[in-house]
Symmetry: C2
Subunit: 342 residues, 2 copies
DNA sequence: TAACTTTATGACAGCGCTGGTCATTTTGTA
DNA sequence: TACAAAATGACCAGCGCTGTCATAAAGTTA
């Protein structure tokens, strides 16, 4: 019922020390022994007692997830992925909701790490994009992994999981181009979020490749909100020269755009195509459902946690020094259609 | 920097055991000693090490929060409240996302409690409404607190935090009645959720009090989703005898109803009033913003955690034996207006 | 004031694990 | 076959705290 390291040792016919070695990926254990132990672990469903490990070890066995994201769905997904990875490795996850804009945020993070003796931290936007946090953590020698928007792994930032918004946006734009659209507008998200810039860049690149110049009037600044989508789309659709498609920087903006179009009795997708980004739950609930880009947040989170564990326990085997890149995947639904003939 | 119980003991001039007693509100410590220790704790900014406590104690210093709620906003709010309470009492929070409908769910919960040695559990719907879970937890002697829909504290269930959906629904309905509406329809949520039944009951009670009979055709079964709202409202508005107001069982349904009305060029609130329930973030983002009932989820969660701590540590002083009841508060926004003259 | 009960406090073991040291066994290599 | 190298075990201390039980201080009674 309560499985301890002793039970595993007995079952595998080795000493507890060896079990400990296996659990911690320490070197100089024969592969055959590793297998034996792992099998016993499996059969007994052994999970190391995190409290005991934390207490005994100078290193710690818990990682932290700091969040301040109005997007609850994103947080929940991330959490789940982190939790999965933690469970697998016998780590604990400490969640810490906070306010990214609070002036004492850096100190708060440091205190958290110190007090809870965290092995490391997973940072998502906006924290992953705050250089002062990264510097502070480095200076006190705490490992962390950042989930950021980007396409090209750089040797400098080995501790990053990249979400390739650029390529995803490129693909989405291509989808619209293939449907015959050439008058495509872009509704931006918050400027501070690099994801918005990356997506815009991917959008522009796809147009350029087709020899189309992005119409500056069709690029509307805004923020990641429904209201911003309503406002942006209303503005666009009031122009004499209307776009035939709108690329919204995320699903909320797209929902706003959808709403605005509906108000003006514009048929979707017959008269206007709209795409979103993120594949949030409500992108399926709009009418028509949104074409969007799916971000596998749970998987991304898992991968971030794995990367963190590798850093934290350099002794571990399978040292594939990789920097994961995730490309959100195009998800075609009913909000996009063939471009209207002029 | 790393303050332990020994430091506090030295500073206060007592043994570590006494410090431990004070930290746990154990009886039979002289008030003067308590003060001495507390002062030392304050001066050193001592916080007990949760890992060590968990390891040493048969009881544990962490509580669990099991969730399977598609409503991410709800989960995030609950989490925050639980976290606040935990921090205050030096507890840890263990979150466990799972699938409530999985056949092995009861065993899973038991395993979780056993393995992580939880002091107790906070249950929200749907878990709080599953008798088999409550029974299983009772049988293995694990404390838990349920957050459930209800209005009258009962001596039987001392371990409940009540959310008085009945009264809140009553008030919302009154709001509509006061605006002159008499033809009010009700869009139900999932039947399994008792909240839907409670809200309906409150709705009916308010009508009855005004001498109005609820029109059975105006009570539409459904589920807590946008689609359900679209469907229900479409059905209602297709009838020759249309309601002048719709009470949606939650904001998502209300958003769906709003959407349906908009499709049919029905002006809100001039031609039709719509109310939601929950005050979820997007109830502010619809157009017009929804009149709704605000549920203080974070506060509710805090109170649930406090109640749990009291159960877990019966030794503690200030034993106010209360059963908190929260009444969601009417929040009037722009989706409701004076009833149209016929 | 002695004898006894109650209350307050302390000494000590041990929770489950890791880290270190050293001895012993097994394996690989010349 | 001899010897070095790798793999494993035995053992101990200790992480910071609580539980148990023994002991000291205070309060009560006759």
């Amino acid at each position: 019922m309560k499985v301890t390291i002793h039970d595993v040792a007995a079952k595998a016919g080795v000493s507890i020390k060896t079990v400990s070695r296996v659990m911690n990926n320490e070197p100089s254990v024969k592969p055959a022994t590793v297998d034996k132990v792992n099998q016993a672990v499996q059969e007994l469903n052994y999970q190391p007692n995190a409290a005991a490990r934390n207490l005994a070890s100078t290193k710690s066995y818990s990682i932290g997830y700091i969040y301040d994201n109005p997007n609850a769905y994103y947080v929940i997904d991330m959490q789940r992925g982190l939790l999965d990875a933690c469970r697998k490795h016998g780590y604990e996850l400490l969640i810490h909701p906070t306010n990214a804009k609070s002036p004492g945020i850096v100190q708060e993070v440091i205190d958290l790490v110190r007090h809870s003796r965290l092995a490391g931290l997973v940072l998502t936007p906006p924290f992953s994009e705050m250089p002062e946090i990264a510097e502070a953590l480095s200076s006190i020698n705490v490992d962390f992994v950042r989930i950021i928007s980007g396409s090209t792994p750089s040797p400098k930032q080995t501790n990053c999981v990249l979400v390739d918004d650029f390529t995803a946006a490129f693909k989405i734009t291509n989808h619209l181009l293939e449907l015959g659209h050439s008058q495509i507008a872009f509704l931006c998200g918050d400027e501070e979020h690099s994801s918005s810039g990356e997506r815009l860049a991917g959008f522009k690149a796809a147009l350029t490749k087709r020899g189309i110049d992005a119409n500056p009037k069709f690029i509307v600044p805004g923020s990641y909100s429904f209201e911003s989508g309503v406002k942006g789309a209303t503005q666009l659709l009031a122009q004499p020269n209307k776009p035939t498609a709108i690329f919204a920087c995320n699903d909320e903006i797209a929902a706003g755009a959808l709403f605005s179009a509906r108000l003006q009795h514009i048929e979707i997708p017959q008269q206007l195509s709209i795409v979103g980004f993120e594949n949030s739950p409500f992108s399926r609930q709009t009418w028509p459902p949104l074409t969007t880009a799916h971000q596998p947040n749970t998987t991304i989170a898992q991968s971030a946690a794995e990367l963190l564990f590798k850093q934290t326990r350099p002794g571990s085997r399978s040292q594939t020094e990789d920097q994961p890149v995730f490309i959100p995947e195009l998800l075609v639904r009913e909000s996009t259609g063939v471009a209207q003939q002029k």
